[in-house]
Symmetry: C2
Subunit: 302 residues, 2 copies
DNA sequence: AAACGTTACGAATCGCGTAAGAATT
DNA sequence: AATTCTTACGCGATTCGTAACGTTT
């Protein structure tokens, strides 16, 4: 059944006549009549009482007409919304990032983006790196701000930059002497054999960071003394500053400090900061633009 | 465009695959695919991103799907309502009557009616007899409880009974002596020549009653002295009882009274109590039933 | 005679199924 | 090789317009 019949029914009611309604809708009386008769047959009840004077809706007709009005209202609104989307005037970019990292990046990128696409809203999901893959695969999210240690062949990655993992050591720890004056500028590579038995505030086992650290410690046969775990990089930093134990965090958190010094793990321990999306995902113009300015903002930030 | 596509779109989303959705909906993958492609072409934007893994709704797709859900909800509700109407389980009878008369009849008829058709509601319009014709003709109302003095060829009339017009005369008026003891049982016919110059409380000129009285007075060259007019039969009765003047009202208001006596105008002044409807109006089963029991109730009331 | 709804019929269009193609796993 | 979406093509159903018919004013 053709959708036009819905509008035509309303026309019949408005005009009070099949002939007049047909004229208004640019079809023949015959077609209009056939549409109405077929509809009435389908419903099993007349929608109008035929009077030579006028087409008058029956009780069923009134109910049907009310429904048609509601449906057409929804239909029209939906079509104009979708037309807006097609023209990038409105839309949604769903993106996921980790609680600590993404928000930072996002607040720098968003104002520039909003300039060009004021109608597009971001739907932000916070998730650990491991969960992000699920969100990308099931379509909950189209983009993910992610630190990549091991790539997944189902995804495409746009590299914003690389970041080393840094080891923070309290100044009161004997190891700290090996760091030199300006370790915050260029952290020297640590001799991992020194780390066995050291007290550590570890990243929570839900984090990618923890996987990576476990990985490198296992390779180098380091057995750390884990005091406790935390998902928060801030907590880890403050534990180190308070001379309680050693901790690992991304390079971007490094700042000159009197309470701690920094070491790196060399090339072995670094990851890529990426925006990831499914290989089969069609990138919309706004999404492409978001990725572009993310790269720009990251480069300027250096 | 076939309406089935709406349900099919939801199936594609649910199943995450055209093939599976097609199986569920008992059509071929090909047909399902063609429907989706055509719809997407019409909208000018894809509704799903094709992944070998899954069909994932795009942002536009999500919006479309939401709209479809709303539309199908309205559609289903409407169809079940209309099915109920077709089977007389629910419905509406729109009827008009005069403020004084109809309500009385209606309260007697309604309980019996409700027994058989509990789902049918009455939509009651109060109107003067003269306005009733408009309401019937424009379809606002399908039935009218009406007192018929002159028939209209556009309407069909079901006669419930006839009713004479009665003249009420205060006992203190000299004419009252002519009435005899039990005028409330059988009002004697008045000699209209006695009425010229008498004080009258007249029915309002919007009423059919007034037209009829004017008619008969003109024929008999009676020139009444009109004190004032009222639409309310109750007012007229109380004026007569208070010995202020004479008044006319339907026979059904006659009761034994110490303050007034009754006369009739003979055969000349009587009308038919009817239920009227447009000749081209299709009477539904409940409407037919309502008319039947109206007749029954009227007959018993006598 | 004019206006309007209904019906008959042929032509154009639409929608579906079969079957083959293309791409991915 | 198997699965899934896409495309080609032909058949059958649907829909529309022309035109005639029936009824009312």
């Amino acid at each position: 059944m053709n959708l036009h019949i819905l509008e035509n029914i309303l026309a019949i009611e408005r005009e009070g006549s099949i002939t007049k309604a047909a004229d208004k809708m640019y079809i023949t009386q015959s077609a209009m009549n056939q549409q109405l008769l077929k509809l009435e047959e389908d419903l099993g009840i007349p929608l109008f009482t035929r009077s030579n004077r006028k087409m008058i809706p029956t009780y069923a007709g009134k109910i049907y007409i009310e429904a048609v009005k509601k449906i057409l209202a929804i239909h029209n609104e939906t079509y104009s919304r979708i037309r807006d989307i097609a023209e990038f005037r409105t839309g949604e970019i769903s993106i996921t990032h980790t609680p600590e990292r993404g928000a930072l990046n996002f607040t720098n990128v968003y104002p520039v983006f909003h300039e060009k696409y004021p109608g597009i809203v971001f739907k932000i999901y916070e998730a650990r790196v491991k969960e992000m893959e699920k969100l990308l695969l099931d379509g909950t999210v189209s983009l993910a701000h992610v630190s990549v240690y091991k790539r997944n062949p189902e995804f495409e990655y746009v590299i914003l930059g690389t970041e080393k993992v840094v080891l923070g050591v309290p100044v009161t720890n004997p190891i700290a002497e090996l760091a030199g004056e300006k370790s915050w500028k260029k952290p020297p590579v640590i001799d991992t054999s020194l780390l066995s038995g050291q007290k550590f505030v570890m990243n929570d086992s839900s984090t990618l960071m923890r996987d990576i650290i476990d990985d490198i410690f296992k390779k180098n046969k380091v057995k750390p003394n884990v005091l406790f775990e935390s998902v928060s990089t801030g907590t880890i930093l403050s534990v180190v500053k308070n001379q309680i134990g050693l901790g690992c965090f991304p390079q971007s958190y490094v700042k000159p400090s009197k309470e701690m010094v920094y070491f790196s793990f060399g090339e072995a321990l670094q990851w890529e900061l990426c925006i990831a999306y499914r290989k089969d995902h069609y990138l919309s113009e706004p999404e492409k633009y978001y990725i572009e300015i993310s790269k720009d903002v990251y480069d300027k930030g250096k």
